[in-house]
Amino acid sequence: MTMSCPPIPNDHPLWKPDMVTLQRRERPLDPLPKPPSPTEEGGGPRRPDPGSPEKDNLLKRMRKVDPKQAERYRQRTGE
């Protein structure tokens, strides 16, 4: 991966003469420690089998949910 900024073509429909071209410059000196890949951890990314997903455990999880909990969920509006 390169970090050089791609040039804006002169015929760019949105080009403005006062735009400043910019060169991005820094790449990591020491990258984030590489975690084991998902495969190494066992299993790894798998696409779900859409045909017959096992529902039993999920239904069990859903039945544990208090049917009235949404009535207690009273939030302020944020941003």
Binding site: M1, T2, M3, C5, P6, I8, P9, D11, H12, P13, L14, W15, K16, M19, V20, L22, R24, R25, E26, R27, P28, L29, D30, P31, L32, P33, P35, P36, S37, P38, E41, G43, P45, R46, P48, D49, P50, P53, K55, N57, L58, L59, R61, M62, K64, V65, D66, P67, K68, Q69, A70, E71, R72, Y73, R74, Q75, R76, T77, G78, E79
Partner: protein
């Protein structure tokens, strides 16, 4: 990803699983913040006023260089600056884990839940998931340039939406757009309340403008606030607040990755044209509420097009101009195409990758099993539980546990991201600063000059600058630079001077 810094801000809802009147969401939010900063030393609390509603102690920067604070009664986590989607998704999950851990440590794990959603079904309150994309200052941040972004943003909800039961009235808009307009899908019950069984987006109902600069009222598709949090001569920050909070890692990465690529198309002049929408705000709601999921909208030209058509135009342009530029770009292009292809088929093909589809499948399964109608309150409770960040309780995590949701990160990566910033952005330098300040002995701070302001705190940290008492400000205007060596030198000089002033 090429030339991009990403950030996500998430406001969490707080569900109290009891009727204890002493425990309001705001009170608990502050308790969590106090615990993480004062007891667990996960970061340093602000010592200065950041705003009228952000007094000292309201929140602060974390070891991972992100921010955790209380905003309008909500715990909010702002990720550190990330240059890769992998880091961003890991950071996003790290925020979830951090606050959940706090609940467990406080003995509140069973009593209180953090809900990573954007709506309250009962009051129509909304709270956000905000996306940040750093672009160059030359980005055409004007009506013409941003108009190219609108059709993409309006239609991307078909794979970024988190889904919800019901609908919200637009009670907050200053100008009541489309009030009583029969064009918007949905009907009203006997009490006059809008009824929609299920729609694909949580925020669509709350977006009432195409462009606006505020974030608490009259929310818009594109927020026009000019606050780069970086050198304003070089950068802009595209700040979006129309998106839903995502649980699926694929959805988070696709939301940010596809939007990043479309911004690049606009920057480079390769955006598809002729896709202007006749009424973007209306189209946002029409798509979200379409029960048949045909997702047809009207273009400014008068023609009709589907959300698929519009997305495919953007995808083709990105494939032509961006493919091969880096590994993550190619991943985004492949997944974008796969998701659009799968959206043409039964929605259950998207389980685990697209939140609205995952949630709908769960709710439909439960509804069928328990013979419930869409109006049953239990379904609204399950809608919330989909977003519970408790790994053993949240319904999305149930899908993940069953192997139905692909992971992009690993548990190890998420654990690392709780206390470690990305090492290829400005976050690295800020993380060094936070780590230093956590262990600092303030008794060795330089004595105050009585002729100067005695109220200057020990430190002031902002996204693009910090200052330690007695030292000049340390600007960090370029988010692509780590500043780590300079920060270390600055801190070492301070330590040495402290040693000279015992």
């Amino acid at each position: 990803m090429l030339n991009r810094i990403f950030g996500l801000e998430t406001e969490y809802g707080l569900l109290i699983n009891s009727d204890d009147p002493d425990h309001s969401p705001s009170w608990l939010a502050h308790r969590v913040i106090d615990h993480l900063f004062r007891t667990q030393h996960q970061g340093v609390l602000d010592q200065h006023y950041r705003g009228y509603d952000e007094p000292p102690g309201n929140g602060g920067f974390l070891l991972n260089a992100g921010r955790l604070y209380v905003d309008m009664g909500h715990v909010e986590f702002a990720s550190p600056e990330c240059n890769t989607l992998f880091d961003l998704v890991a950071s996003d999950r790290a925020g979830d884990r951090l606050i959940q851990q706090a609940l467990e440590e406080l003995g509140l794990g069973e009593k209180v839940s953090f809900i990573k959603n954007n709506i309250d079904h009962g009051t129509d309150a909304t709270f956000g998931s905000h996306e940040n994309y750093l672009v160059t200052r030359r980005f055409p941040f004007n009506l013409k340039g941003l108009n190219y972004l609108i059709p993409f943003l309006v239609t991307r909800q078909i794979f970024t939406g988190s889904g919800r039961i019901g609908a919200a009235e637009n009670s907050e808009s200053w100008i009541p757009l489309h009030q009583g307009d029969s064009k918007i899908p949905g009907s009203h019950d006997a009490s006059g309340r809008l009824t929609i069984p299920y729609q694909i987006s949580q925020r669509a109902d709350h977006i009432v403008n195409d462009f606006f600069e505020w974030v608490q009222h009259n929310r818009s598709i594109v927020n026009t606030r000019d606050e780069p949090l970086a050198d304003p001569n070089q950068y802009r920050r595209i700040h979006l607040l129309l998106g839903d909070s995502n649980m699926a890692e694929t959805a988070t990465a696709l939301k940010m990755g596809t939007t990043g690529l479309v911004l690049q198309l606009i920057e480079e002049g390769h955006m598809p044209t002729g896709l202007d929408l006749d009424d973007p705000v209306l189209a946002l709601k029409e798509i979200s509420r379409d029960p048949d999921r045909k997702w047809i909208v009207r273009l400014a030209s008068g023609a009709r097009a589907s959300a698929f058509d519009i997305q495919e135009q953007f995808l083709k342009a990105a494939q032509k101009h961006c493919r091969g530029q880096d590994e993550e770009t190619d991943w985004v292009l492949e997944e974008w195409e796969a998701v659009l292809t799968d959206l043409h088929g039964p929605y259950d093909k998207l389980i685990g990758r697209v939140d609205w589809a995952s949630k709908l499948w769960l709710l439909e399964s439960f509804r069928e099993e328990e013979h419930l109608t869409w109006e049953d309150p239990w379904l609204r409770s399950l809608d919330l539980e989909y977003h519970n960040v408790h790994p053993q309780r949240g319904l999305f995590y149930g899908l993940e546990e069953e192997g139905r949701a692909p992971r992009l990160t690993t548990e190890t990566a998420v654990e690392l991201a709780i206390q470690n910033p990305p090492r290829n952005t400005r976050a690295f330098g800020r993380g060094e600063l936070v780590r230093h300040l956590i262990g600092k002995d303030w008794s060795k701070d330089p004595p105050l000059d009585s002729s100067k302001d005695r109220r200057f705190p020990h430190y002031v940290i902002n996204w693009s600058i910090f200052q330690l008492r007695g030292y000049p400000p340390f600007p960090m205007p370029d988010p692509f630079k780590t500043y780590v060596q300079q920060v270390r030198s600055h801190l070492t000089a301070q330590q040495n001077q402290g040693a000279l002033n015992p």
